[in-house]
């Protein structure tokens, strides 16, 4: 978790917005959700999970060091109103970006139930913060090492079966969002998914982030990142996310070698 000085961004950001961050002259621009902002201090909070080269470089920054470039806020802010009962289903990289949305939904008077999922206990993050922000938190782990054993979808389904759900918001790995979306479609619960596609500029300039929504090509960075999950072509998104996997893996190997980490 990082607190970054960015007074202008702190002032204009809303829940759902993200920033593009670049570490080092030859760094990559990666999208990160603004998890929180402190207007008085003029800072924003980013929560980063080590995935590959760029997120690791960021995580390796020591306190007081500088992020080379950061721009934002980008994307469309989440549409927040009083919906009633909202289930926020998140897992993996999706947990951090969910935090400001949970906070905003709660503030607007919704009953917010957060389903927090991960493979095992060690990978559950931000539980405490989520407990504070939500009416209820359901923790799910694949191996049952913590909370309830099962997938995020099991958690969501248990809520839907138990009470009327007006909206579901889901953020996480594309495969997870796909299954949440299939589930809520079955129960006809309107669902928003915040898509974490590959991005280059984040300002609508390149089209790297494009997805098919309702059969139309949309740019996640300017039309999204949130879309009606039931309209999103998750299979295509999954396919596109894999696009640079081989090159990324090579880069990661190089970095490990260079830093002597294994």
């Amino acid at each position: 978790m990082f607190e970054v000085e960015a007074p202008l961004i702190a002032k204009s950001r809303k829940a759902g917005h993200f920033v593009m961050v670049k570490v080092g002259e030859k760094g990559e621009r990666i999208p990160l959700t603004i998890a929180d902002a402190d207007l008085a201090k003029g800072t924003i909070t980013l929560v980063v999970q080590k995935m590959g080269v760029s997120s690791s470089k960021l995580c390796n920054l020591a306190e007081g060091e500088f992020i080379t470039d950061m721009v934002g806020p980008l994307g469309k802010a989440t549409h927040i109103e009083k919906f009633g009962t909202v289930v926020c289903a998140c897992g993996g990289v999706g947990t951090a970006p969910m935090m400001p949305i949970v906070a905003a939904l709660k503030k607007a008077g919704n009953r917010v139930i957060t389903v927090l999922a991960a493979r095992n206990k060690d990978l559950i993050i931000l539980e405490e913060q989520m407990q504070e922000l939500s009416d209820e938190v359901i923790v799910m782990t694949d191996d049952g090492s913590y909370g309830v054993k099962g997938l995020v979808t099991n958690g969501v389904e248990s809520v839907i079966q138990r009470e009327k759900v007006d909206l579901c918001v889901t953020i996480g790995p594309a495969i997870m969002m796909k299954f949440v979306s299939l589930l809520t479609k079955k129960y006809e619960v309107p669902t928003l998914a915040s898509l974490n596609t590959i991005m280059v500029d984040g300002t609508g300039m390149c089209g790297a982030c494009r997805v098919s929504v309702g059969g139309k090509t949309r740019f996640v960075c300017i039309d999204g990142p949130e879309f009606d999950a039931h309209q999103v072509d998750f299979d295509e998104m999954l396919m596109r996310l894999g696009g640079y996997r081989d090159i990324e893996r090579e880069d990661m190997e190089k970095m490990k070698c260079a830093s002597g980490v294994n």
């Binding site: 080092g24 470089k57 950061m70 721009v71 390149c206 696009g243």
Partner: protein, 487 residues
């Protein structure tokens, strides 16, 4: 002094009469020396070497110093062409550069990227005599390069600071030229740029082998030297709004935010892995330096690369692919070569470099493998029909005739739309159905009085020289508007 009076000055008359017109027109047009095509498609260095002083002076002799210089009608900003050329003939290269700068803010750039064969050179009187036109573009480049390399860049006279703050949105040619003119008039100018680099398309789009970044940086440094401030990573309408700028005391805002939104064809398979916009491809390679091993940004290095389109962007993409090791680098264009909007020189260069041209071919589908990676492209064979609204003969399908070619990367370069960030975020602007901002033709002022605009955000995808011309026009008009408001 008007141009007739200038032409009558003794030095011009003397020079003009020192040689017979026939002798001048008999000199063959200079050839631009360039890197060997076989060598250059393995490096990223500039293709053209530029003229030597000797060659430039010889070429300058070809110009007849016409009483009615038709070439100037072809120049969108009306550069005083015969005057700068005659300075070159006389060996007064710095004077030539000064003449260029009277009208053009970026001569070293325009000398390299303007479509001269459609502009000034298309109107040169030589063509009427069935001779090749004077190489105006090459001479422009020569004078500008000479000035830069001499280290004697003429520092413009800057008026007393008037303390009035002006904001510029976007650092492409429109924004840069506007900023320069306003700073010279004494305004306190700040340029806001969304990306982490300054220069707009000049940096992220046009490749190094055609326009080295270092030259763009010189122009930017010159602007800094006269007090222009640059703020990168700042998106107007997002990080700061125009209202906030206004509240912060900015007296005028010039929007030169460009046409950054890539268009796609909306055909089957276009979202397969390996199919991307030219903006994505060029941004990865030029802005993020993705091809260099120490860059974190990846780029897929295709071996069989097809680029769809016939404009400068398509040429830049296909020649970049070749340089990044493609065995086959193909242009697929739905019209014939004659209709290609790209600069003639780029098409020639591309051919020399072994780029394959598949014209009258329109992609209708991309086919992929089970990992979703593109493997083939299906092309509809076209033929030319009647001329369309643009005057170009429009391509029509030859029924039932298609071709399928093997590819591993496809770059879609079928045009761009205006960047929607500003139109979306400023209330009260008048926007066309193409997403461009409506402005007054003479003043470049928009429906929101404090906002002026120019370049691609007003014209859609256009050219560097037009963007630059707009910037300068807007600067003159904004200055007048602000001063009117004060009196």
């Amino acid at each position: 002094m008007n141009i007739t009076e200038e032409r009558a000055l003794p030095w011009r008359a003397e020079l003009r009469n020192s040689m017979k017109a026939k002798e001048r027109t008999d000199i063959p047009r200079v050839e631009m020396p360039a890197q060997d095509p076989k060598v250059r498609c393995t490096n990223n260095e500039e293709v053209n070497y530029g003229l030597t002083a000797e060659k430039a002076m010889q070429e300058a002799k070809r110009c007849l110093d016409c009483a009615n210089p038709t070439c100037m009608e072809g120049c969108p900003v009306g550069i005083y062409i015969p005057k700068f050329i005659k300075h070159i003939e006389k060996g007064e290269f710095l004077e030539a550069a000064k003449t260029l700068k009277e009208t053009s803010a970026l001569p070293a750039v325009c000398g390299r990227v303007c479509p001269q064969e459609k502009q000034c050179e298309a109107k040169c009187v030589h063509l009427k005599m069935k001779k090749e036109s004077v190489a105006i573009g090459h001479l422009e480049r020569f004078a500008a390069d000479y000035e830069r390399e001499s280290g004697n860049i003429s520092i413009p006279v800057v008026a007393e600071p008037n303390g009035m703050k002006i904001a510029v949105v976007g650092s492409g040619p429109a924004g840069l030229s506007f900023a320069g003119d306003m700073a010279k008039m004494g305004y306190d100018v700040t340029v806001f740029e969304a990306l982490h680099e300054i220069g707009g398309v000049l940096k992220y789009g046009i490749p190094e082998f055609r326009l080295p970044n270092a030259f763009v940086d010189v122009e930017i440094d010159n602007l800094r030297a006269i007090g222009v401030k640059f703020i990168t990573n700042c998106i107007i309408g997002r990080t700061i709004t125009i209202e906030e700028l206004k509240a912060d005391g900015f007296k005028g805002v010039f929007v030169g935010s460009g046409a950054g939104l890539p268009r796609f064809m909306n055909i089957k398979g276009e979202n397969l892995v390996g199919v991307m916009s030219s903006n994505e491809y060029l941004t990865r390679v030029n802005l993020m330096d993705a091809a260099s091993p120490d860059s974190d940004t990846p780029v897929f290095l295709g071996k069989k690369v097809a680029v769809i389109g016939g404009g400068n962007t398509a040429m830049d993409s296909v020649r970049t692919a070749k340089r990044l090791g493609a065995d086959r680098a193909i242009i697929a264009y739905r019209r014939s070569e004659e209709e290609m909007p790209a600069r003639l020189e780029e098409v020639h260069h591309a051919k020399e470099e072994g780029i394959e041209f598949m014209t009258l071919r329109n992609p209708i589908e991309f086919i992929g493998n089970d990992q979703g990676r593109v493997t083939h492209m299906v092309l509809q064979v076209m033929e030319l029909g009647e001329p369309d609204a643009s005057g170009r003969r429009s391509p029509v399908e030859v029924p039932g005739k298609t071709e399928t070619i093997e590819i591993d990367e496809a770059i879609v370069s079928v045009g761009v739309s205006p960047n929607p960030l500003i139109p979306q975020s400023v209330m009260g602007l008048e926007i066309t159905k193409w997403g461009t901002i409506v402005v007054d033709n003479d003043t470049m002022q928009s429906a929101v009085p404090i906002v002026f605009a120019g370049g691609d955000i007003v014209r859609g995808g256009a050219t560097v020289i037009l963007a630059m011309g707009d910037g300068r026009k807007a600067a003159a008009a904004m200055d007048k508007w602000i001063k009117q408001g004060l009196s």
